[in-house]
Symmetry: C2
Subunit: 380 residues, 2 copies
DNA sequence: TGCCAGCTCTAAAACGATTCAGATTCTCCG
DNA sequence: CGGAGAATCTGAATCGTTTTAGAGCTGGCA
């Protein structure tokens, strides 16, 4: 039989509904609905007739929206970003996380809806979160104690917070049974990275920070701002660096100095710009602690631009160990990104199953590669 | 005023509806609805009372699902992948595409729903596409003439096909006014890559192919299979390689030989495995044409494992020019990935606006970096 | 024959909103 | 003072399903 051109829905009418199929056959709508959802509720022959009629009428099956409304379940989980997706995805680690998360949810027939705050438009940044038809929400990045976070919680849906402090630790918020938390040992990983540099003898260390807070400018970090970091991973990693330096400073007191700068966004370009500016201003720096591999990669570029050899002139450490970093020979702090995605998915399923929340904290560890080396005396 | 602990939805009752808010105030449901959606339809004072009552009752605003049903609009666009998302996201180019697509749609208050076919589970792979509540669908990767594609089209929604052949060119399908197409000059880009290698004098060229068809095995490509490539970009790029070699063969007839192998998935690991196998089996190969940067990166790893210097012993060319490739010094075929995302978004908006489809085809070009060099006689 | 069980199928009530077409009341002006 | 027109609010229909409770019928078994 020759293949016929695939016919788009119906001839052209408005939109066929279950009711019309039922009417065409002279059966009740319940029967048609059952033909699709509960085949055991009607005779095989009638079911076949229903499906056949539906086909000729161009009915594509029950409307998912109406179905969801009636059933009280959408089969969709929202993932909330507080940054424009354009930048959120610039980080391979984010992509990897999302991939494994999606994978974990797929087993339960759940799909992911990406919810990002509109960049700079005048649209309400909370509208997506407020108006999303979802069965649950996952907060991937949000400033602590933010309006965004409150909007999420006010939905009263099963919620998983990724890399967030405990709700109880945020002023004005209270822990909730339906809001689980999955995170990593941010500070510990940062501490390992800093320790590594100290052991290599570095004392003038640049720090490429992730954003400290939403919609700030980036650039050198004045001492005052360091107390008001509203992104949890940034705060924790910074704490890890600081505390290690303070502790290591016991041996060589006053010697180690951290030079902080903030990237406006977690992107290659911002990392490069930022690093370039810092290294030009403080050429005594011999090592760079970066809060993400993406930023570290920007740092490597900056070094190349300046003609500083890595690791001879400048040591660079990243954070995340994202997929491509091994190829760049980058020393970095590994975190179980895929695992994290999976655990977040599992936490969501657990919550949706009605269980109380159970928080998860995953380990990090240092991966030493070729971008770090012992300090050599500078010929300044 | 001291910040009070944020109170989760209501005390605890089931779920508050618009009707209950209306009843509590003794007004009609229409009024409450208007308080949220059409402030100009009631007095400011009443509106304030409505919102206030809603707050104390713990009503979080109109249910998005019910609202969507009534309005006939969900504010969601589905993106269809035919591969598990876990792998789809392994490609930075895919992530970049998605990011710019999301960005483009955000202007119209549209969010993205990720629809992937369940990996290997027994679940119906078409269920996500059939059952998604969306206003439009974007097909990111699908085998031509596949069931998946037909399922998408049968929804009768505005549809944008990315990197797909014209529907009319697929057996059994017909072009549709509501299905636009955005793609790149796949074959042209591939031709440039191949031409480059020919000019450098290479005659024994390995080709790392993207998947030829869904759920095949990967590995060396027998001559027969080359005719049955069901992924459009794969087919086109292969054609570009082949035709260039055939044309260039005019000068040095019979000399140039392409050794084809297929990666099971577009991932670093599969690329590496695949390249390793090929290079070990055919050590006379001096150059590698890869259909993606991810695969090329796998190729670079394989070369390193074998101790083959790049580009001295082995030239490597990628495809996409994804974000990290410059740092790997990879010669590659650039494609306007971000632009593509934006154009897809625009096409969707156009379609949703009721206009007929308008297809777009974007250019590609070769970016020569350090991973390719003139052929040196091998000391085999 | 009588009765219970098991199939099929149906009627009608949700699900939670939006919106059109009035019904009131208010305002303003000639 | 009368009436047009604006401002404000309401009733009821509708969006397209799912699902519960039960009606009719058939057949088996005592």
């Amino acid at each position: 039989m020759a293949t016929m051109p695939f016919n788009p829905p119906p001839p052209s009418s408005g939109r066929i509904t279950l009711r019309e199929v039922a009417r065409a056959l002279g059966v009740s709508v319940a029967t048609v609905s059952n033909a699709y959802n509960r085949p055991d509720q009607l005779s095989a022959s009638l079911r076949e007739r229903v499906l056949e009629t539906a086909r000729t009428l161009g009915y594509g099956g029950p409307d998912p929206l109406a179905s969801s409304l009636r059933r009280g379940r959408t089969g969709v989980i929202g993932v909330v970003f507080d940054a424009p997706l354009e930048y959120a995805f610039a980080d391979p680690a984010a992509a990897q996380f999302l991939g494994s998360l999606a994978q974990a949810l797929q087993g339960a027939s759940l799909n992911l809806l990406l919810l990002a705050s509109p960049g700079d438009g005048q649209a309400d940044p909370l509208a997506p979160v407020r108006g999303a038809s979802v069965d649950g929400l996952i907060v991937y990045s949000a400033a602590q104690n933010s309006e965004l976070l409150r909007a999420v919680l006010s939905r009263g849906l099963p919620t998983v917070l990724v890399d967030q402090p405990a709700l109880g630790d945020q002023p004005g918020l209270a822990d909730q049974d339906r809001a689980a938390r999955v995170g990593i040992d941010d500070a510990g990983g940062a501490a390992h990275a800093a320790q590594h540099l100290l052991e290599l003898g570095h004392t003038q260390i640049g720090v490429l920070c992730l954003e400290l807070g939403p919609r700030q400018g980036g650039g050198r970090v004045a001492p005052g701002r360091e107390r008001q970091v509203s992104y949890h991973p940034t705060a924790e990693r910074l704490r890890g660096y600081r505390e290690t330096v303070a502790a290591g400073g016991a041996d060589q007191p006053g010697h180690v100095r951290l030079h902080l700068t903030e990237a406006e966004r977690n992107t290659l370009n911002d990392g490069e710009t930022c690093a370039l500016e810092l290294l030009r201003a403080e050429p005594q720096i011999t090592a760079l602690l970066c809060m993400s591999d993406v930023l570290a990669c920007g740092g490597l570029r900056a070094a190349q631009t300046l003609g500083w050899a890595v690791p001879e002139r400048l040591s660079v450490i990243g954070y995340d160990d994202s997929p491509g970093s091994a190829d760049l020979n980058l020393t970095t702090v590994w975190q179980p990104t895929s695992d994290k995605g999976r655990r977040v998915g599992e936490a969501m399923l657990t919550l949706m199953g009605g269980e109380r929340r159970a928080d998860v904290r995953l380990p990090t560890r240092l991966v030493v590669r070729g971008s770090t080396a012992k300090l050599r005396r500078l010929a300044l």
